[in-house]
């Protein structure tokens, strides 16, 4: 049995959870995105970010959770260098439900994964070790991240294998990105810990996992470790282990977490927030359409094949493009272009940031295709130029003479050129008519795929047969 504890930063907010420093701390010099509140100076007080409550509630709703009538915050008290107040303001469900969500579920392919609870809390700062050596006694602390809004999502131990974990994390990433609350691709924006147990055995927590890729490996390792202990008749201890990235194994954490008593008390500086139904209704209405809803709509309304609809709906970048570019008649074509020709050109964050493509380019392009002015393959070439330069579609088409060439004399001229350049191939084609495709290919190459194929073949055959 495997359960997950996922921490997701609300990177799309402007400010931190309890102060007005920037939520996305990544571009700052160390300790320059701080203020008396997030660095915990004497006399400072937390001020709760309204939008953080809104976004976290949307996540709770998207994960089908129950939301409480009153939201409460608590202090988890422990000492650590990255914790400026030596307590973390977080949520609990002690005196009844008070965290942002509980008892939800997420569907992955073959089953539902139950969500135990969701809570809103602040991220601690970051520790950097001076010098690469393990023996250095000093840690350098950067509080830029301290106070960044985090949503912690705790699942029930419903995962049966690492594969389900991977699927779930992809579904969750897409969902969060689709909601517009977070950019999961940002470094450190989504972190996960796991708890792993095999049948009849105790729960082992695994922390310090750097990436989702490592998470799968760590779970796999841990399952194997526990299984082999069982086979040898040795007990597994209930404990916390951390993932050693270099050696790719889990190691028992000798920090006595069991001794840690967090002395939870209510956060006296943040009153309980009344979740009035009017606000909840308004937020629900403002929620972006869910991925599954989009997929259904693409399939039923536009007849887009489910595979294509899947790719289109689960990537916010693509679905945004699609939503803005399409109309009733070209929807299928646009969906097609996006998920085949365009994909390779904008498959990384960097490429997307540099891309100059706009929805209008897509709709113009499909119009040209549908009115037979250009071929699909020349559209593909055009896309490359569009993404690179952003110039109007019509300009690019004429510039690179990417219009479909149907003029017979033009094609004939090109064929003549090819014939004179390829005497061997011509001879071969005369003897073996099948090999004429080589020459057709040459014509296509020369015309960048724009020559009308039927005309080309006919003219080629004619010219070759009449060639000496």
């Amino acid at each position: 049995m495997i359960g997950l504890e996922i921490h997701c930063q609300l990177t799309n907010l402007q400010s931190k959870l309890f102060c007005s420093c920037k939520a996305n701390y990544r571009s700052f010099e160390p300790n320059t995105n701080v203020c008396p509140v997030c660095i915990g100076l004497p006399g400072s007080l937390p001020r709760l970010n309204q939008k953080a409550v809104e976004k976290a509630t949307m996540i709770a709703m998207a994960l089908n959770c129950k939301t409480p009538q009153k939201l409460g915050f608590f202090r988890k008290n422990y000492f650590y260098p990255d914790l400026p107040k030596n307590f973390q303001i977080t949520q609990l469900n002690v005196y009844g439900p008070s965290s942002i969500g509980e008892q939800g579920k997420v569907a992955i392919e073959e089953k539902d994964i139950r969500i135990r609870r969701i809570q809103l809390e602040e991220d601690p700062g970051r520790l950097i070790y001076e010098g690469a050596s393990e023996r250095t006694q000093i840690t350098l602390v950067d509080y830029n991240r301290a106070g960044t809004p985090l949503v912690e999502i705790v699942t029930e131990p419903d995962f049966e294998n690492p594969r389900q974990v991977r699927i779930f994390l992809n579904v969750l990433s897409d969902l969060l990105e689709n909601l517009g609350v977070s950019d999961p691709a940002l470094e450190g924006a989504m972190r996960a810990d796991a708890n792993v147990s095999i049948e009849g055995g105790p729960r082992v927590e695994i922390k310090n996992i750097g990436s989702f890729y490592d998470l799968e490996k760590a779970i796999h390792f841990e399952l194997t470790r526990q299984q082999s202990l069982k086979e040898r008749g040795m007990p597994t201890s209930q404990e916390t282990r951390h993932w050693d990235d270099k050696r790719k194994i889990t190691i028992s954490s000798r920090t006595k977490e069991e001794d840690e008593d967090y002395r939870y008390i209510h956060e006296g500086d943040v009153p309980w927030i009344v979740m009035d139904s009017e606000s909840l209704e308004r937020w629900k209405k403002n929620m972006p359409e869910s991925i599954s809803s989009k997929k259904d709509r693409y399939v039923t309304k536009y007849g887009i094949p489910p595979q294509v609809a899947d790719v289109l709906s689960s990537d916010k970048y693509y679905s945004d493009l699609f939503e803005q570019a399409h109309n009733e008649s070209n929807a299928k074509e646009i969906a097609n272009i996006i998920t085949t020709d365009l994909m390779g050109l904008v498959d990384t964050r960097e490429k997307r940031e540099q891309s100059k493509l706009s929805p209008k380019h897509l709709s113009d392009l499909t119009e040209l295709i549908q009115s037979n002015k250009i071929t699909r393959s020349s559209a593909k070439n055009a896309l490359q130029e569009i993404v690179r330069t952003g110039k109007p579609t019509s300009e690019i088409i004429s510039q690179t003479s990417l219009g479909k060439i149907s003029d017979e004399s033009e094609i004939a001229k090109i064929i003549d050129e090819i014939i004179s350049q390829e005497p061997t191939a011509v001879k071969q084609a005369k003897e073996n008519p099948q090999t004429i495709n080589f020459l057709v290919g040459k014509v296509m190459q020369k015309t960048k795929g724009n020559a009308d194929p039927a005309i080309t073949l006919r003219l080629l055959k004619e010219k070759i047969s009449s060639h000496e």
């Binding site: 007005s20 300790n31 701080v34 203020c35 001020r47 000492f79 950067d142 209510h266």
Partner: protein, 88 residues
Amino acid sequence: MVTKEDIEHVAKLMRIDIDNTDQYLAQIQKILNYFDVLDKANIESEEIQVQEVSINDLRDDKYVPFESKLIDQLKNYKGSYVRAPKMN
């Protein structure tokens, strides 16, 4: 009954070195015993009252940088970092 080990354990939890545990033991013992008077207060059925605030009174999500470079005014290392002993 509070023992010397209890005091030592809590002092560790609260990260304070204490020299004369015995002196504190006697005082803490007396105070905790006094706290037992709460058992007579007849308040089991009481609900804990809380201060409430409306969502509309919460802070707007705006980025406002702090007016000065704070790290300059605190203990700093190489101008930008805070230095701490490593945790074992």
